[in-house]
Amino acid sequence: MSNESGASLQPHQYPGRLIVVEGIDGSGKSTQIRLAQRWLVSLGYNVFFTEWNSAQLVKKTTKRGKRKKSLTPTTFSLLHATDFADRLVSNIIPPLKAGMISMADRYVFTAYARDHVRGCDREWVRKVYGFAPRPDIAFYFRVPIDVALKRITMARRVLKDFEAGMDLNLSPDPYQSFAMFQGKILEEYDLMVRENDFVVIDATLSIADQQRQVREVIRQRLTAYQRKPRIA
């Protein structure tokens, strides 16, 4: 499957399986992947979980740069890509090679959306992440902005600057900024659904209903997967 930009991810040949979840903050994707992980472990699968919520290198570098504004869209994108490449090589690929199920909370699609919204060329970002293997299942938890925002405020979480896109100067109010920034991210995700074969889950449903759908999809797609396969 290729897209117009000719830069889609290549399928991997590892004996393991790669399952990723995507969605904006407050979509509930982390809850869902944790429940799916528990379930797979209870069935006796070997599962390794990794998340990509913030890049260590970005944190370190911005701390050094004192002001967050010292990062441009391109340096921001490339530092995240460096961090992702490190996690890919050290956390995501080894379980795949060992024939395990590798689960990732956020994958390259987060970068596709975020970096383009920040101003990077859409096609360029896809090419930069061209080294990543195509996931066997990519769940996309789709949720309207107001629902996401309500969940975040209910949890009384303080919005992080980058998550609210504060550096883009969309609005001085973090909540307003979040709504505008994540709204654009949402549009980007929607553009990716077809080209990346996302399994779209309605994230306004109850946690249990969503999880039932998630498990059903995983069950179907793991039929050809050997639980104790050869290792690469």
């Binding site: 391109t74 340096t75 061209g130």
Partner: protein, 258 residues
Amino acid sequence: MSQLQFFGQGLPYLGTYDCPGVLITVEGTDGVGRTTQITMLREWLEVQGYGVVETGWTRSELIGQTISQAKQGRLLNRLTYSLIYAADFADRLEKEIIPALRSGFVVLADRYVFTAQARDMARGVDRQWVKDLFGFAPIPHLVIYLRIDVASLIRRVIPRGVIDYFESGMDVALGDDPYDSFKKYQTILLREYDRMAGEYGFNVVNAKWQPEKIHAQLREIVSGFFRSRRLLGWARDSDLIRDPDRVDQSLASAEVAS
């Protein structure tokens, strides 16, 4: 209005802007005398009244230190190595190179994306991927390649002392001793530079010549470039800074344009 040409999509969020400056890059492996030549070239240009800005390959204020730390801990695999150098370059590009070009400076770059490409190739990274990665980089107006053969290179580098871990590709285990690894790594680098010399039209200069002779050759190349630029009407020479008093003024106009 003079605009920069890019290898790929460039930096779309910067919009369009006037860029009267000139970007000259000097490529070549270690030990070919790049620094000496850049110093001499700079002096010659400044005597003629051109404003010159120099930029190196790993000196970004923001990310330079992160790279040094990562190298010390040898935390880099070949992908992260490519990406972090690209990030470092992007930082210098947006904060030093492009602002200087917009203000009409001659920018002398001690190595450019070609060095990154050559190193990445030597580390076994996909060629097309590296080219795409640097799609945000402006195409230099002039590339000078100081070329040397492996045997001469080795005899120049060995007397300096310990062979650098990364300069010898030890991180990708090209050989089981520093010398073998260095030789293999530099051989691949040279092959890549030679290939790119054809692809991108480098001005190849024999780095085994005496420094003065190389410098004379560089003068010829650079003045030839300025001459053809005028003839082709690409830019007026008056766009370039030839009087330090004009610097602030041009910077101010670049600000307004953005």
